[in-house]
Symmetry: C3
Subunit: 508 residues, 3 copies
């Protein structure tokens, strides 16, 4: 029954090699790096002017891996250390032996880009899209297409309930004879607030002449929804997403994508404060104290050698291996590949949706939400127990890289409990809100446009999320006094006091 003696012997054998030679990584690196690949003539033409016109991004690109590695060189690497997912016969031959410069992205597939324009004799497009990146990184693009994030614009703008909410956040308010009014948000307001992260719809709207700093006037396509680098951006070529949301132009530094600051650009506010929770956790404390000693660049990324505590990327995305080269977790760009329960953004926490496009979800009351106001899940739209178990198992596998099974299972049980109890507290708040609606103290025709509705919303949209995130990542006070249960409970008490202190006869 016990596998232990066997395991012990096996371990001793396996461990021998790694134990004897634990410390040669630094010396290996230069040997792995080939000579820089040549820059194409087209890209060099770009660089000649842009080193003067926009010197910052040229210098940034020069630091990038793309500026010195050709597809052929990328393909020559061992599979686990490859940062390139196209097969050899998928890569256009003319790209194979040169660095990935300006022209290789901004002049790629010109016929697919409505925004392609003549610029110094070249057909150039401003907005490089995931469909362009997929030339070399098709697997990542494919996975990302199954990611909720790639549909962040679609799922927001295609959900009438969310758009009703968005109007109440972004529309200009005015006070006149008719009382309080909220105007439709202006396009720029929309683009610069919610859609800054969700992504805008970028459209070509004719031509515009602009005065640049170094070279006078230049005529370019006029783009609406621009600038933007949101995760679910709808691009002029019809594709969804912006790889540069995380892989920032023009260095595309993997050490940036792997550090939590990048995720924190959108995941920091009270509606989704995962960055803050992480940074207050033991993992975040180790990252903050020790990251100077870590190496954020190697592929694969080796547990214990390159880093000694996880960042966001380690748990959710990255290819992670042991020092012996065993895979702890596979790389994924479907961000919920190791997440089974949706913790944020909705009235109740429920399993993740089956499809990345959530606009088709309807709950039992016909609303485009994954649960009813009473918490009943729209199960036919949500992943089932088997899929939940698989995703949970993948996350558990990452945890087991450092922690015992008992530690991990205790931690996951704490998260389950926080989901259950935070949903229960939201139910209490919602019942009180419903009493307010029934008594005519608020109008349920629009769930988002009255003060007491806003109070109720904060209970779930801000504070219950915080409780769950804290349980998921050991964020301690984010589950108690910093947002947390203090605020979920205070919200319930406040709604209760509102109902108690408003005379029975008082309608609106």
């Amino acid at each position: 029954m016990s596998p232990k003696p066997h395991a012990f012997a096996l371990a001793a054998v396996l461990a021998a090699a790694c134990w004897l030679a634990p410390a040669a990584p630094a010396a290996e690196k230069p040997a792995q790096e080939p000579e820089p690949a040549p820059v194409s003539a087209d890209s060099q033409a770009c660089l000649d002017c842009h080193a003067i016109a926009t010197p910052g991004i040229v210098a940034d690109w020069k630091r990038s891996r793309m500026s010195r590695v050709s597809p052929a060189q990328a393909l020559a690497r061992p599979e686990l250390s490859r940062r390139f997912s196209a097969a050899e016969d998928q890569v256009p031959p003319e790209l194979m032996n040169q660095a990935v410069g300006c022209a290789e992205c901004h002049m790629l597939r010109p016929e697919k880009h409505p925004g392609s324009f003549d610029h110094e004799g070249f057909s150039v497009h401003t907005v490089v899209s995931p469909a362009d990146c997929a030339t070399c990184h098709p697997t990542e693009r494919e996975q990302y297409g199954h990611n909720l994030m790639s549909h962040a614009w679609v799922n927001l703008t295609g959900n009438p309930l969310y758009m009703q909410f968005e109007k109440q956040v972004n529309g200009v308010m005015s006070v006149g004879r008719g009382g309080l009014a909220v105007a439709e948000p202006t396009p720029r307001t929309r683009d610069e607030s919610c859609l800054a992260c969700h992504g805008t719809e970028v459209k070509v709207e004719g031509r515009v002449t602009k005065t640049s700093a170094a070279f006078g006037e230049v005529t370019v396509p006029k783009l609406s929804g621009w600038p933007n680098r949101g995760v679910g951006r709808k691009n002029p070529d019809g594709s969804l997403g912006s790889c540069t949301a995380c892989h920032s132009r023009h260095q595309f530094a993997i050490q940036m994508a792997r550090q939590p600051y990048t995720c924190g650009e959108c995941h920091k506010g009270p509606d989704v404060l995962t960055y803050r929770v992480y940074m207050t956790s033991k993992h975040g404390g180790a990252f903050a104290s020790l990251n100077k000693e870590w190496d954020f660049q190697p592929v694969p990324w080796t547990l214990g050698k390159d880093f000694s505590a996880p960042t966001c990327a380690v748990c959710h995305l990255s290819l992670v291996t042991t020092a012996q080269g065993e895979v702890v977790a596979r790389r994924t760009h479907r961000m919920n590949d190791r997440m089974w329960q949706r913790l944020l953004g909705l009235i109740y926490s429920a399993p993740h949706p089956i499809k990345a496009d959530t606009t088709g979800i309807r709950n039992a009351d016909g609303q485009p939400l994954p649960t009813t106001l009473a918490g009943e899940p729209a199960s036919e739209h949500l992943i089932g127990e088997k899929e939940q178990a698989e995703r949970r198992g993948r996350m558990r596998g990452v945890c087991l890289g450092c922690h015992s099974a008992q530690w991990v299972d205790g931690q996951l049980a704490n998260l389950d409990e926080a989901v259950r109890t935070s949903n229960a507290n939201t139910l209490a708040a919602t019942k009180l809100m419903q009493q307010g609606w029934q008594r005519g103290l608020a109008d349920p025709a629009n769930l988002f446009d009255e003060y007491w509705e806003n109070v109720w919303m904060q209970g779930w949209f801000f504070y219950a999320n915080s409780v769950r995130f804290s349980a998921a990542m050991m964020g301690t006070d984010y589950g108690v006094f910093d947002n947390g249960r203090w605020e979920t409970h205070k919200t319930v008490r406040r709604l209760h006091h509102w109902l108690q202190s408003t005379p029975p006869a008082a309608g609106r």
Copy 2:
């Protein structure tokens, strides 16, 4: 009367040596490091499997000082640079000449650990306790035992008033026919919220079989209150505390314990936002900007050479010396050794308690609090003026390492003033709350279960703390608009408006 001419001459002589040779530290370090001590056979057996089973923590341990320094080597160092407080004859001889590996901690004192279990032929315990660490670090354990933090679980769970409060924060709320109800918090909720920092009670509750990642099933003691690394954890062996709360497993990196991020894991929320206040101070700004150039590892830690502004550890804990080797502050693990006034967590700021166990404190009204609701201190339980002056003098000594006496005394007087005025503002809020209780607008039978009581609490539990912390550490806006006086005063105005706007006849 003037000591100056003498002082000047003395200084010139003393300064000569240090002035002539200010810059050889980097070269010295390798010379101080002996050959790595051997790993014991028992620990090697652990490592052989766990390099595969839990590779992250094995790699982490390999980076640790414990993995390469034996007690004998630690004892051979000069006293000020020793990180080891046991006398030679206190160390078990079998531990003396080997590195401190898995077995040296997890197989130590097996008879004392109810959780010891047979694992691959060894008697192992999961929860290494301060009593284990005291084998080599008895002074630190002794000091820590006099620390409020070691009693964080005892002081919370043993205080009926605090437990009444905790229930109102953590219990699930429900709305039924009888109105609003709050259930007793579930054990997992309790462990994962307040007790995540305070520490849980870890108990052995039988055996459990778990499936690990690499080696199949393993049967281990079933632990309740686990996982946890809270500062006042009650361990299965009866000891209090968790050294790994700050000295994180399994690297036990002193550079982590000395950086503010570690303290910030628990001291960041609105109830105790010292980390935030520090990070916005001039000291925190210097740390954030310059820490890349500092050295967080040397013992002793040299003012001006290793760091140029204090972290939490410098002011509150660490052994700090001058470049000439003069001691500026002695190492202490009784965290309030340089603190005389308790700034947080209670209705009014009062002197620190005499004992680390505060469950015996009773105020003049019989409540387990160090002051009455009117602010009268329970002086017989609190340190007297002489002890306050000594602690203040030790902190002042740290400040004088960089600042003139006038600067420091001005700064300390500002703190005194903030204590006095923040207490006065809390008194105003409390008087209004008492009017609410007297008028029947709230029920003082439980101080924590009504909305207006929560409003009152925030005034002292969040905002008055912030004012005092800001004064203590020059956190500027945390004393004004970021929590701060803006919020203490708004709280008073809000309570006042509540009383004014509620009709005289309205009871609850």
Copy 3:
């Protein structure tokens, strides 16, 4: 009409040199550094004692550039890399060939400093002022004098409306028979809260004897308003400002002034959360992830080479050049040199004031504010369109270092829209507040002393600022749920609900 062919040729020529030799910077640096300049005998006398009395600041100074570069050496550098703005004939000859030590600052111009005192035979003053620093840095001092920040004490304490507000924030509150009372803030409270950042008035108030750590008693001038390092400090010599607010003693590290943490010491709270907004932006994310690889010390500071995303200093202050040595932005210590619209601190956003001293501003209603409560600007006190365009052009020039003209203009248009819409939302809140005043539910005699006035204030003083900062720096959620529009709109709804739910007859 098209300048392009010419531009292309020009670019190719210009680019040649820089393109061929991009990577020799590290080797150059030592060559540029001369032998350390000698320390004067007077400074050496200071150092001999203070290495023992205050070792931290002595060590800090030893790391500083001032400790090793003489004015003559500073003057010998090429103009763009000079950190010294005095002409050769402006520098006192006796300072020309020695390092800038203790004596060169603390014994400079003794007759101008009321606080000069005899100390070990030297005439020393504690408070080194901008007028002292101007001996070597006259241009910086001159520019800083035109900066709002140099007048932060003057503009606060000289504005009766602001002082009415300050009293309501800082005065101790009490509850007695007459109701709620607010006392005049105590001097220490004032100095330690608002004036910690704004600057105190430092006055010499006789002599005091202090006990230092190392050398017994010392008699020094008694200073009120001390300690302080606020940006607009009024010094005993009558000058305004404290250079050490940003150039921290005694290392005066340019790498500290150039990192956002320094600005964040005062610009972090909800009233002015620029640091937080920056840190959540793409620029801040790049800084946080990559600054380990950047060089914060070179003068001039080269875009793309020394850093790959801007910090606060890059956009607002620093001399920035391209790798070819072309100037992207000139150094300025008038912080609003590249800012045209004031985004914070006032009811409505309006153009910047013409003068740094704003105490003379009066709006159409006679209030010392740049707009009326209805939003009408006091245009005769504010910069006109031409000056606004020039400042905007300078900022645009910085952006164009990395971004296309269309990107930048879209970004600036988003900011314009956020100014317009945030002002409109503030107007809605203000109209409701005015209804409250008209109905007698609050008293407009003092705008700051009632709960509902505080609610209204938060709408503009905290949340509308946040919306504008987020638009200015792409801070995403700070324009939506983290402060942001969620809070501006909730404020309006709350005021509206207050008016709706208060019976028509109810006065105060």
